[in-house]
Symmetry: C2
Subunit: 654 residues, 2 copies
């Protein structure tokens, strides 16, 4: 096969590739990262590059205008090399390392009454063995097992090979005193208790020495790790980071598509492993700089147990389990209840035999982020009728109480996370996060994260903007821009009608920041899907929304939205504001509870088992509800009495 040289303007050396290689692949071979939020499907246009010279073939030019193509622009994920060429990569939106924890790091309270002896599955015991002699030639393992039985009461101890390998040295280096760390857990639905040796340390480890655990939330966008001293239950450090998979797709569907490609699954797994392992190093480092001089240093290898929550796709990709059946009807996971694994098996840089407990999920789109979230929210333990929502790229919704739980998921799409929207961006520095529109002049004012000039608009900004446009009449209830207002901010743009939020001179890029009628449609579909989700869910169990006593909203998304405006656009139901409670990252908090207390862990399993999952796509009523919710706030204004009221007295808006 012929080979060609591709010269990237960012590099001095060309890369040699065979005919037919994708530009995205060539860039990767050259060591350049081109973001592919849609997973290389040619949908998002974020991987646009400019071919300055040479022979390429575009398989698709979706999202590119004829003029773009004439200027050499091409989608790197859809364009193949057919001759030597020279390619320029336009400066990309740089993912700022502005971590969500910068906002959310907080003192986590140890669950009241936490008792290491009673609650923890990890046990650390000191054993004093009688040394062998010519009269007693018992092998090391039998000697250890006898001591575990006689001195600590463990009778069903399993000893993985790595323990056998370190056994002789550990016993002798400590002069027949040894510290054993075991995890005690159920096998086969509680029909048997296994006591698994996780580590064996020579001598007598001081009693107050921490025993390290980690609670981990693998979010589609953000991964969070908490470092926990299992002895005290204290969270000693926290860290979050973008999931390294982001560059290969922003939503779970794109990730599954990417993972289905040759080598994609391994790449996805390694990306998220790198993220987690980096975070494990970070939390240990953060603990070490804070610790007292006389305290021992923490290192990831000392972590003997990790609980992991995440949506089903994240869990599959993390474990290297093919996820393609999640994406296709009838939407089946390979596994909801993952057996206990070890650090070594999954590739985490913790103690190789450290217990890795992937928390159980319910279905393809209701994973353990939700079961853990339900635990953290406490809704399974209250008699108050509760609606719990975790809104991200997917919206997961749970309704119920200590009596019953039903759940559904709806694909909101990434619009509320700033993706799939023309001037959208993540909630990082430079994003417009709130907008106000003057009801008479239709002139907007806005607030930018971090101050300074805006470069785009993020999810909360979009909700705010949509609400303001609607309440002031810039758009009608169907989302159509009102061209009758006679203002220059409403104009015909490259993609049709649009509203200008910020003029080029005010922005970082020098280009206007606008919202197009396509964006508005996307936002309506996103909020419509979520509204339809919880209303159909409530309907399906015969519960009117008004009966709901509390609305618990989890996920970092939920932390920043303006309730009033979210109600105005019909995203949240029209309820007294005091019913809403924002819980932050409920997923990692649930993982933390499960890490500490085997009863909490059992409760998550029980939640997963008793939660009834309702597949909305199987339900015609969802489609109808969705269609009705595509209006602002809704076709049926009776459902939003406070908005109806406000619309009658426009003075209250804007």
């Amino acid at each position: 096969m012929a080979e060609h040289l591709v010269y990237f303007d960012a590099l001095t050396e060309p890369v040699r590739v065979p005919t037919g290689t994708l530009l995205a692949e060539a860039a990767r071979m050259a060591g350049l990262e081109i973001g592919q939020p849609c997973g290389g499907q040619g949908r998002c246009g974020r991987c646009t590059v400019q071919v300055l010279e040479g022979n390429v073939r575009r398989r698709s030019t979706l999202r590119l205008s004829a003029e773009d193509v004439a200027q050499g622009f091409a989608l790197a994920c859809q364009t193949v090399v057919e001759g030597d060429c020279r390619v320029s990569i336009p400066p990309q939106e740089k993912i700022e390392r502005r971590l969500t924890t910068d906002r959310t790091v907080s003192e986590i309270t140890v669950p009241p009454g936490y008792n290491y002896e009673l609650d923890q599955t990890i046990h650390r015991v000191h054993l004093s063995l009688s040394p062998p002699s010519l009269e007693d030639q018992t092998d090391d393992l039998s000697r250890l097992l006898t001591a575990l039985k006689q001195q600590a009461g463990f009778t069903s101890v399993s000893t993985p090979l790595p323990i056998l390998r370190k056994l002789g040295e550990a016993l002798r280096a400590g002069d027949w005193n040894v510290t054993a760390i075991l995890d005690v857990h159920d096998l086969f639905d509680g029909r048997y208790i296994e006591e698994r040796l996780v580590d064996l340390l020579p001598g007598r480890v001081p009693q107050e020495e921490p025993i390290w655990g980690a609670a981990i939330d693998i979010g589609t966008t953000t991964v969070t790790v908490w470092l926990v001293n299992l002895l005290t239950g204290q969270v000693e450090a926290q860290a979050s980071e973008y999931n390294g998979q982001i560059a290969r797709g922003e939503d779970v569907i794109s990730r599954i598509v990417y993972a289905s490609k040759n080598g994609g699954a391994a790449e996805m797994r390694n990306l998220v492993l790198d993220t987690i392992n980096q975070l494990l190093a970070t939390v240990c480092q953060r603990y070490n700089v804070r610790k007292k001089d006389w305290e021992s240093k923490a290192s990831p290898e000392q972590i003997v147990k990790a609980t992991i929550a995440g949506n089903s796709t994240m869990m599959h990709l993390f474990l290297g389990i093919p996820a393609s059946s999640i994406r296709l009807s009838p939407y089946i996971t390979a596994v909801n209840h993952v057996p206990l694994l070890s650090g070594q098996e999954v590739g985490l840089n913790i103690n190789p035999l450290g217990i890795v407990d992937c928390l159980p999920g319910v279905a393809s789109y209701v994973g353990s982020d939700i079961t853990a979230g339900v635990l953290a929210s406490g809704m399974d333990d209250t008699n108050r009728l509760t609606l719990f929502m975790d809104v991200g790229t997917n919206g997961e919704i749970v309704l119920g109480s200590n009596d019953w739980l039903v759940a559904c998921a709806c694909s909101a799409g990434p619009a509320f996370e700033g993706a799939g929207v023309y001037c959208g961006m993540r909630a990082t520095r430079g994003a417009i996060e709130e907008v106000w529109i003057n009801g008479e002049t239709y002139e907007p004012t806005y607030r930018v994260i971090g101050g300074g000039k805006p470069s785009g608009i993020c999810g909360s900004g979009l909700i705010s903007l949509l609400a303001e446009m609607f309440m002031t009449g810039v758009i009608d209830k169907a989302g159509n821009l009102n061209t009758q207002l006679g203002i220059n901010r409403i104009r015909e743009g490259e993609y049709g009608l649009e509203y200008v939020i910020a003029w080029g001179e005010e922005t970082q890029t020098g280009k206007d920041i606008t919202i197009t009628h396509v964006d508005i449609d996307n936002l309506l579909r996103a909020k419509g899907a979520i509204y339809a989700g919880y209303s159909v869910l409530a309907d399906s169990v015969g519960v009117p929304l008004e009966m709901i006593e509390q609305m618990l909203i989890g996920g970092s998304f939920g932390k920043y939205i303006n309730v009033e405006k979210a109600i105005q656009i019909g995203l949240l139901p029209d309820m007294p504001w005091e019913k809403f409670q924002f819980l932050g990252n409920t997923s990692v908090r649930g993982a933390y509870y499960a890490l500490l207390d085997h009863r909490a862990r059992a409760r998550i399993k029980e939640i997963a088992t008793r939660m009834t999952y309702i597949e909305l796509s199987a339900d015609n009523s969802f489609y109808e509800a969705f269609m009705s919710a595509l209006f602002l706030p809704h076709t049926d204004l009776n459902r939003f009495p406070s908005i109806a009221q406000a619309l009658k007295s426009p003075a209250s808006a804007g």
Copy 2:
């Protein structure tokens, strides 16, 4: 540190090494193999090289004469580089690939009444699953577990991560028909049954398709693998090969010493893994060339279960478990009862989840080669008082019956395997295997393996030679050469008195083949140790040797020795010849029985548990018995009445 160039005559390029590097190490770095039968302890002299030029320092010159040293000869394992040098490696005795199985391959009879359904721990079941739908979104794993329960009665199935990874594909590729392979075994001393999924194949595998297993014997010298169809119990192919560790030490002690060096343990493990994996490929290949056209090919990856027998040192080194405590008083193993492992964990190229069952041993010097051997011999199941012996570099001896079993081990040393003897060699082509001495002329005749000129003498030849020399009076009962005979075959050689078996003109090397008084001493010590072993063992339980009803001799050693001559030198007890039975490789046969039948496996465990190990080195009477046995046939001639008789009528000898 200074570096020097070492030029080996076999190579065109020199190798660069730092000051102080051993010549053996330099050779290895250059890719040259120098055999180190003693493990690099400077004992055996087999790694002798000639330094033609340059600066080296000899740490030891044991086994080298002053003249040797003057000519530049040096032990590669004891000589360090201190300047550039030029080294010649003399042509070494090449290990011929003449395998023991060439003599021992035989039709193995399937144990009568073998019944796959009842005896086997491996189960292969076909399952027909109902496909998922929007109405039934059960995850793949739960669907499979339900089918396993409802269609096959398995209720405690564990599913390792690799199964989860192939689950979705296996179910869908077979259109929801799937073949599951499980191993059913006890956990925690039979208190729980685990049903572990080993493989999952799409569709319905034909009922007659073989299920592959392997019985493996890891001998210190030879590794043997049998390929077994678990469905029929038939041994379909056999192969043996020298243990790749041989070049790093001929006996277990040298191997442990080598493994204790930096990186030595990993090297030892890899060497034996390479040997076994090569043999697994060989047996499959041997089956494939024999199989019918319509039969499927066998490949190592299809092997779902392997049972492994071997002495405790071999087992530790194979599993990468440090073995140093085996060598040092009080001689402790890390583990006698190894938990079930998988192919992947231990590094065997079988199915990654294939069950690896390392059979249980008793003590440092009574490993599972003996427990499996006892099973194969049937001595644990007979009421006839039996002495079972496995004679190799170590002699392991078991006495008892279905009532009780006692065992001991004695270090015979490698003399009977031809090592540590001046003209000794293994029982390969060119070895003298039997000697006759004329009682009047003292002229020897001999038989050579493979015919042709001899190049050395092997174990059975040494026994034969020693017996003939004794019975004809060439040596006295203390092993002293009789210089009064006035024959030129008895002479003063480089190492003192010696007897010439073959003159240089008759030999392959052109050099005389002799036995020195040092060799005779070594042989007396070897036979004395074994005699002392079983006589002290019998004594310790108050059993006179005459009471023993059968003598079962295992190990390939036992297959070739001449009973009459072995009695004449006092190696075997003076008993009617019909009491002796030679069983060949009892270790692999025991492993084969355990592979087939879980009751046989349980019996080996029972044998290991009820066998009382007697540590001879703790016993003063052993030393006394050993000293008394250093004579031919013994100090106390009453113990060998038939020999006493023969010595009275010399006509019967020679």
